[in-house]
Symmetry: C2
Subunit: 339 residues, 2 copies
Amino acid sequence: MKIVVDAMGGDHAPEVTVKGSVDAVKEYGVNVVLVGKEEMIKKELEKYQLDSNKIEIVHAEEVIENEDKPVRAIRRKKDSSMVKGLKLVKEKKADAFISAGNTGALLSGGLFVVGRIKGIERAALAPVYPTSNGISLLLDAGANADCKPKYLHQFAIMGSVYAEKVLGIKRPKVGLINIGTEEGKGNELTKETYKLLKESDLNFYGNIEARELPKGKADVLVCDGFVGNTVLKLTEGLAMEIFSLLKKEITKSFFTKLGALMLKSGLKGFKKRLDYTEYGGAPLLGVKGAVIKAHGSSDAKAIKNAIRQAKVFVENEVLEKIEEDINRLGGKHGKEERG
Amino acid sequence: MKIVVDAMGGDHAPEVTVKGSVDAVKEYGVNVVLVGKEEMIKKELEKYQLDSNKIEIVHAEEVIENEDKPVRAIRRKKDSSMVKGLKLVKEKKADAFISAGNTGALLSGGLFVVGRIKGIERAALAPVYPTSNGISLLLDAGANADCKPKYLHQFAIMGSVYAEKVLGIKRPKVGLINIGTEEGKGNELTKETYKLLKESDLNFYGNIEARELPKGKADVLVCDGFVGNTVLKLTEGLAMEIFSLLKKEITKSFFTKLGALMLKSGLKGFKKRLDYTEYGGAPLLGVKGAVIKAHGSSDAKAIKNAIRQAKVFVENEVLEKIEEDINRLGGKHGKEERG
């Protein structure tokens, strides 16, 4: 198995991308292709003792920066680490691609360079969402601001496959993020999507209100990219804000300071539960390859985790299973139309 | 001034609705009309010493329950406290109506019984959203699941009038909830709305991402009812979940328990900041009357606060100002179309 890592992507590249790759090679025995500025990568690699034929470098002169406009960057920076890395997957010279770089560019690159699976209407970004009893998979988290019911139905299928094959959840429960719990509630999109999911072979739980999201009632959470992105970012922002307010309150007096000191380890464990970078990257589901977006602030461990995730993705044939389920759906829809 | 209170609405009615009304009469000198089951209201009123001509009872045989289907309830329960109360406002026999009852029914009742202000396309529910430096007004919080750019423009106008006249914020900053901060980001709705707000006379701040909402960057937050409801409920759910996780962590050992004890007052102050019931009810903006939705779990203080809020609403001529601004907008749009 050969996994491509965008050596130049993320806030701490190439230090952490190289270290994470080296650790993954040692731990999981995968082959890694590091794409990026050769001199820089070599310099980082020199820090480690490694069986050299397991890590390959592909030189890329350009880097797509976070400030670059996604579509334009993918079209113009043909010699960037991201475009060159995605091409390796497209041309089947490698099995998976991981980047902690520009999210929008990776989404565009996934579509324009790698391309969608036949039958898939839209690809979706699917990060994990931390809950009080584990994690849920949330999709779409921002690849598609405007969606149709058909897209959400496909998101539910792709999310179910991924949750089962990579997260190891048997017959994952699919929840539709909605305002109101009963059937018939919501906007035009969710009302129509409800009907599709109800009639599907999926393990459909029903509507889930935003209030219930942190409780982890479903394994796969389906919504349009506007709502998904809003949910994800609000969760991040609120957790940060609550911690900062808490910090202010507890440093107000000697006694609360003392109390805070005693609480420290408890708080740390708690904060870790909310830190979703712990769980690796977000796959871009629906493209013809394992493409994974790691968090921009990823450390070496997060990169290593994303490589493990890519390995499981490929080993468990997620793409093939998605293709199969989508084909069956296409056939079924066709039958219904004829019938 | 005469303010109608739905004596039967809310989890703790009629105890708290009567007590809140009595307190408001004493404190603000307003006249209150309590609508609901006369015998029950009388029994509650007997507990207090009060100048009787300031409180009036209007008997209503029926009660709209939380389980009732909103539109059907408004149409069929003509003798309910909610419908009778709204009629008093419609017929100009009273200035404002407050209910802690069924939210959906109050929205329907606002539209069907009281009616929209001329020129207003949709009425919006506008609760306050607690932030680290105060509050923002959020609209629409759930009255309209599907919206057009025109509606959001009107929400921005109504929200600005309310924020200025009732919350006392001079030239309130209007933020558009969006995914991405730059112009051109978002879904079809927010992209078009951005253009309208940018060209308007409003104090438009620009797009605000969900991550920034808790920071209080704008005084008025505009979005469709699906997104607004999701933001509000997720905030509630997350705050509750974080507190419950925190509680678990800090009761793990003797030292963290001791620490928690020392922190107690600090935590309490902090929790209060997040409790948006502190700030009174949410007005239904766009209907021809001051209609205010109080939280279902309102206590007497919350009801009293909502009455004060209704008083300020009426005194500062919020309806008249909304009508004026919407008329000017209509004229401007007309001119642009001609030009």
